[in-house]
Symmetry: C2
Subunit: 456 residues, 2 copies
Amino acid sequence: MFFTKFLIVAWLFHVQSTIALESDETNNVNACNLPQSLIKEIDSYEPFVHAIINETLHGSFKGITWNELAYFVDTFGPRFTGTTVLERSIDYVLNKSMEFGLENVHGESVSVPHWVRGKESATLLKPRHKNIALLGLGTSVGTPPEGITAKVIVVDSFEELEDRKHEVPGKIVVFNEKYISYGETVKYRSKGATEASKYGAVAALIRSVTPYSLYTPHTGMQRYDENVSKIPVACITAEDASLFRRMSDRGTVLEINLKMQAKNLPNKVSRNVIAELKGSKTPEKVVVISGHIDSWDVGQGAMDDGGGAFISMIMWTGEEVGIVGANHYIKNHKSEEKNLQFVLESDSGTFMPLGFQVTGTEEVKCILERIMKLFSIVGNLTIRSPSGGPDIASWVNAGVPGGSFWSQDETYFNYHHTNADTMLVENPQALDKGTALFAALSYVLAELSVDLPHHK
Amino acid sequence: MFFTKFLIVAWLFHVQSTIALESDETNNVNACNLPQSLIKEIDSYEPFVHAIINETLHGSFKGITWNELAYFVDTFGPRFTGTTVLERSIDYVLNKSMEFGLENVHGESVSVPHWVRGKESATLLKPRHKNIALLGLGTSVGTPPEGITAKVIVVDSFEELEDRKHEVPGKIVVFNEKYISYGETVKYRSKGATEASKYGAVAALIRSVTPYSLYTPHTGMQRYDENVSKIPVACITAEDASLFRRMSDRGTVLEINLKMQAKNLPNKVSRNVIAELKGSKTPEKVVVISGHIDSWDVGQGAMDDGGGAFISMIMWTGEEVGIVGANHYIKNHKSEEKNLQFVLESDSGTFMPLGFQVTGTEEVKCILERIMKLFSIVGNLTIRSPSGGPDIASWVNAGVPGGSFWSQDETYFNYHHTNADTMLVENPQALDKGTALFAALSYVLAELSVDLPHHK
């Protein structure tokens, strides 16, 4: 988070003073009815924007985001909430931010959940022996040491579960739901255990929420309703879920042993990483640029959300376990909310940029659209609504105009919360473009002479 | 293998006698200078070909190949050479072939290698603890029970290994080769252990040979040169190989512990699955339609080569461990080779069909091209050279005209020799088309009044 009206990512800061201002007379069409003076002002930032972009894409900062991110995720590996390694990685970023000359660099403490996976395994015992790849879900309880051995019922939906509820007691419920989209399908991961438990299941195994699998289990959070018995729950692969469905459709009796050492331990303290770059005219006005530093305990957290954090350099903790860090910060800094000019987040991958997803008044969107024209050397960037950023959602819901980085993320859910979330997903050019866009957009928003209106 | 001139996959056999012959006057362009009478003959098979295709794609056989294959691979799972389950799956196919009314159904015994994977694990010990996914390679020796713990050298090529050979003694060599194509890149899997051992390595870990990874290790065969110490060798994921490269490029010292229980045991007896459909006019003349029934010990062997075997219904054993079954058969049936009209194989996936890859004289290719025109209701199928089938290669090398099924296999090496080789790769429509093409092509080749010439 930057407390500034003259905001720019630190290592690009020197650029703004070295480029002469040139007027731009070409782009003065205003479909949005913005005041002509505002259009002129926005367009006047083009030389600065181009300087930032060129220096990032072709100059001394070329490739730096990828290199810095690779060093970070290779060195620390995954950074799960409640672990020492997350806190060490936070120390590293705090030190790095100070080295970069950012101001008021500090961690802000926040109490975070502490779930530990432990060892976990699942085995198909009948009709034949088969090891089942799985990843337990965050907040899941464990099994007894000998595991849970039970017969299996396979359903494709909550509706089918309801229809066949008399078959559920004492069984392990396998959800073999069809993947429609993450947004629509993730309810099986979030609520599968609760729904299965309602009808007397002893455990739940959920088909991983993904459009593409190479026998790839995905983890993620789940939540128990208060009025149900807590049963162990894990995601299995699309391959095994569909295998179990075919087998049981043939009338075969399936039996599975599930062992999970998962534990919910007392909360730990983590920290949001805050760094600022104070402006001179109205230093109380703020543009926020953010990603999250924590990750799941698999892969490297390079995509979710290493890339997002590293194009921001500003990092929330505890996103994966319930947006804990950001929401704590937002609550604790409620009085400063009125001074927020714009809040930015990247948490949907840092692939080749398409633009920004924005929530705000029509005027805000018009201003953003006009700013996008300055970025044409990076590509044909556009604005769409609403903003999709989970960490900034509380601000956006409270009326602060906000946007999330939008990139060519078709493969995002192939990697999401898996061992495949590594540097192989990240592309140096795409990261440079993301860095350039975040830096240049936040520069323009901070320089802008008007305050962006908050929405209702 | 069918010993027949009136060959057709058994459950489509009834079709040929129920359809009246209709002349086709439209397609008489002959760029190949085939005799006009032969063109006329080929074109005269169109009604039969259409009947076979329509019955398979839209009639009573719609979806049957997928269903039969799913039942087979779901029931038996992977069918690795040397295992009881492979032999049980062979018994099942023999019985099924008899049920289908095929003739002279029998297994022909062949001695096959017996390599056992056992438990295997690898752990990065320095600079930080990390589990490493791996799959040991066929014929690899194991490690002592406590494993091999050694420092790591990472190379991208055999050339780099040679350049840095003084660094190799006592180390684990990680090959982080770039994937170009399976054909070009697989040498690192095949020979990596030998090349590393030459310079004193204690083990070799090879980046899996694949264009796309979701932290997916691939297995496969390797061979030791006679004059080198046998060192354990496994494939690791693209993700970990590139991680180790980045780490060592930064000057970090890496240490790995590798444990493999792999063992080479005395040969076992397996069987090729032979079924015939004898013709009446020249029953000694033969068209072969084949796939292989064995698979690697991971996944389900649905793609490699369940689909190929099930569009053929005729199955070699021991392909994965060195084309053992087919080569044994070809050697033992050398005297019948002159009677082979054509040999067909499917072992590159059964995706949506593109045509056939053919090796033979120009005349053979011209005949095949003309036959392809009869299949236009399935798609615009073409012939390309050479044939790519490993099991029929000895025949093709000896001059027998041969072809392999060619389909939209861009993703084949995503799944190849992995746990992701399951029914999710297989598409019912594509399998129906493959079945229709194999049945119709073999029908036409068996009916043809001319003997296809053998090449030099």
